[in-house]
């Protein structure tokens, strides 16, 4: 199935640069697309899981551009998601803009905020930048709570309307998210092999060396932060219109940590990483939420221990995966495929 001729038979530039470069990947991706398109048939009431994974995968893709390709650490990704969510809620609610206009606008608003946050990254890096973004996260939460005023910052959001149709219910929202998810993923995958993507990777590997080679650090770091924030903004807008009620509690430091966990566990610097990571982290936290009540019905005494056990399990799995395979799930998949290529022989 995974047969590939020994030797490299790519004869033109296009074949060499293809994202899905063998028949195995092309067929596999087609199967994946079919499975996702038919998801309402096989997931039933668990369709919300896929919608959530899609939204978070969009946000995590942004963080991969920033952290995986440009090497800038951000612990404030959820803040950009909040900005997108509240921006979109405001645009559709108070200004009455249609959803298809509000969604990209929310991304643009977050892009602008991201570009501003990028400015300190020229002076500080690594750990210090992580702390600065952490501070930004808390300041944004505070700002939103005070700007909204009553009700600890919670507001309700309209259902998304596209033209004459109002999207209601899980399945319709799922398809909306799926389309944007595919667009966002494809854009990021293509970005990674363009001139811009290569420049971002040069900045990651050694920013001053990149500058010496003529890469404008101000422009590219700003662009990376802006793109990451823009992705988070789009994810936030989708989240707002999917949940219909948003409050700063959805976008706390915990969500930011989840995002970083997604990109690290998925595999930094891999275009599949954020999607695998988002799927894994979401499935893990939601799965633990689904499994624990089932256990409680069998063992009633387990009820008080359920919540802390969920936290412990999450932390322990994170640590175990990072120690076992620092390259994340993408690397794990690569290893698995290499083993299957030659199965049943060892070399």
């Amino acid at each position: 199935m995974a047969l590939r001729p020994a030797g490299d038979y790519k004869v033109d530039y296009g074949a060499d640069m293809a994202l899905l470069d063998t028949a195995f990947y092309r067929r596999g991706f087609l199967l994946l697309l079919l499975a996702l398109a038919a998801a309402p048939l096989w997931t039933g009431r668990f369709i919300f899981l896929l919608t959530t994974i899609g939204i978070f995968a969009i946000g995590a893709t942004g963080l991969t551009i920033l952290t995986g390709f440009t090497g800038q650490i951000s612990l404030g990704h959820a803040a950009f998601m909040a900005i997108g969510a509240y921006g979109s809620a405001l645009l559709t609610g108070r200004f009455g803009l249609p959803f298809p206009v509000a969604l990209p606008l929310a991304g643009l608003i977050a892009f602008a905020f991201g570009a501003v946050v990028a400015l300190p990254s020229l002076r500080i890096k690594g750990l210090y930048l992580a702390i600065a973004t952490l501070a930004f996260q808390f300041l944004t939460e505070y700002g939103i709570i005070h700007a909204v005023g009553e009700g600890l910052g919670a507001i309700s959001v309209r259902a998304p309307r596209i033209g004459p149709w109002t999207l209601r219910g899980e399945v319709q929202t799922y398809y909306l998210v799926l389309v944007i998810w595919l667009l966002a993923g494809t854009f990021a995958a293509n970005l990674a092999r363009t001139r811009v993507g290569l420049a971002l990777m040069a900045v990651r590997d050694r920013d001053y060396a990149a500058q010496v080679m003529g890469i404008n650090l101000l422009a590219y770091k700003t662009l990376a932060f802006g793109l990451a924030a823009g992705y988070a903004g789009v994810a936030g807008s989708l989240w707002a219109h999917y949940n219909r009620l948003i409050s700063p509690e959805h976008f706390t430091i915990v969500t930011s940590i989840d995002y970083v966990a997604m990109v690290v566990m998925g595999g930094l610097g891999s275009i599949w990483g954020p999607h695998l990571g988002a799927a894994f982290v979401t499935a893990l936290s939601q799965g633990l939420k689904i499994v624990t009540p089932a256990v409680v019905t069998v063992l009633p005494g387990f009820a008080t221990a359920a919540t802390p056990l969920r936290e412990i399990a999450f932390g322990a799995i994170l640590i175990a995966l990072l120690i076992w395979e620092p390259g994340g799930l993408a690397q794990l998949a690569r290893k698995l495929k290499r083993r299957l290529d030659l199965w049943p022989f060892s070399y």
Partner: protein
């Protein structure tokens, strides 16, 4: 006005000295391992909860002693089980792992002690004392004293003891120190143990003052502001930064809170972080890092 300022100053020093003690743990660990432990707030709570639980059964000094021993062992265990396999991994992985560690420690604590606020019961005299006519929390005096004592103790330790000198050498240049026979493993293990013990001391004082509950994990982040202000790898900087943050909070924060916008006091620490990082990223006493190609 001057009364407000004087009161703010004295109480700010009292609160700030608790921040300083917690910040000390951050700085200790960063100095010798270059790891910023984002689970530090959880370790603080662990110290507080454990000491309170032990003080129900044992006299207070014994409870404090046992808590410090337990915290030290926890530090050793974390280094051995989690940090050592990750030696040489990227900064981001290490940050994530300390966060995950925080999840685990918090989960264990919630499982054991539940989520409500707990306090010491009548172990030492608390309440309000007066210093030069200004009312002040008595716990503030204890923590200021402890902070001064620990500052002196760690100063002497790093100056004269063999392991202290090894830790400074490792902080300066890990590979060179290793080549000269310093066991990096031992240095890291001690650093984690000391950091956990400093956190436990902070937790105990916090427990004496406010009682401990899980909202106070936040206090670890305020201590983060203190170390950033003082310089990440400077122990006197951490102490001074903690006191400064405390004073800023009670004076400027208190004023703005009351007269301009509500809730500013809790966010002040992060404003300080951003300002310091933009103006002077290595803090007041931190080592300035010059990057060369």
């Amino acid at each position: 006005m001057s009364e407000f300022l004087a009161g703010g100053l004295v109480n700010g020093v009292a609160v700030g000295s608790i921040y300083a003690l917690i910040a000390l743990g951050f700085a200790l660990l960063y100095k010798s391992t270059k790891i910023l432990n984002l689970a530090h707030g959880e370790l603080v709570l662990f110290g507080g909860y454990l000491a309170i639980a032990l003080s129900r059964a044992l006299p207070f000094p014994a409870a404090v002693f046992l808590t410090l021993v337990a915290a030290g062992l926890l530090g050793f265990a974390i280094e051995r089980a989690v940090m050592r396999p990750l030696f040489g991994q990227s900064l981001l992985s290490v940050i994530i792992v300390t966060l995950a560690l925080g999840y685990i420690v918090r989960g264990v604590m919630v499982g054991m002690w539940g989520g409500d606020t707990r306090q010491f019961i009548g172990v030492v005299p608390t309440g309000v004392a007066t210093v030069a006519g200004i009312p002040i929390q008595r716990v503030g005096l204890y923590s200021a004293g402890t902070a001064l004592f620990l500052l002196a103790a760690f100063g002497l330790f790093f100056r004269y003891s063999l392991i202290g000198i090894a830790m400074r050498a490792a902080a300066n240049e890990q590979l060179t120190a290793s080549a000269l026979g310093v066991s990096l493993r031992r240095v890291f293990a001690y650093a984690w143990a000391f950091a956990a013990m400093a956190a436990a001391v902070g937790g105990i004082l916090l427990g004496l003052w406010l009682g401990v509950n899980f909202a106070l994990g936040f206090v670890g982040l305020k201590a983060l502001a203190a170390v950033i202000l003082g310089g990440l790898d400077s122990i006197p900087g951490a102490i001074l930064g903690g006191v400064l943050i405390g004073v800023l909070e009670t004076t400027i924060g208190g004023y703005v809170d009351a007269h301009v916008i509500y809730g500013f006091k809790d966010i002040l620490a992060f404003v300080v972080i951003l300002l310091v990082l933009i103006v002077r990223p290595y803090g007041l006493f931190g080592t300035e890092h010059v990057e060369r190609l």
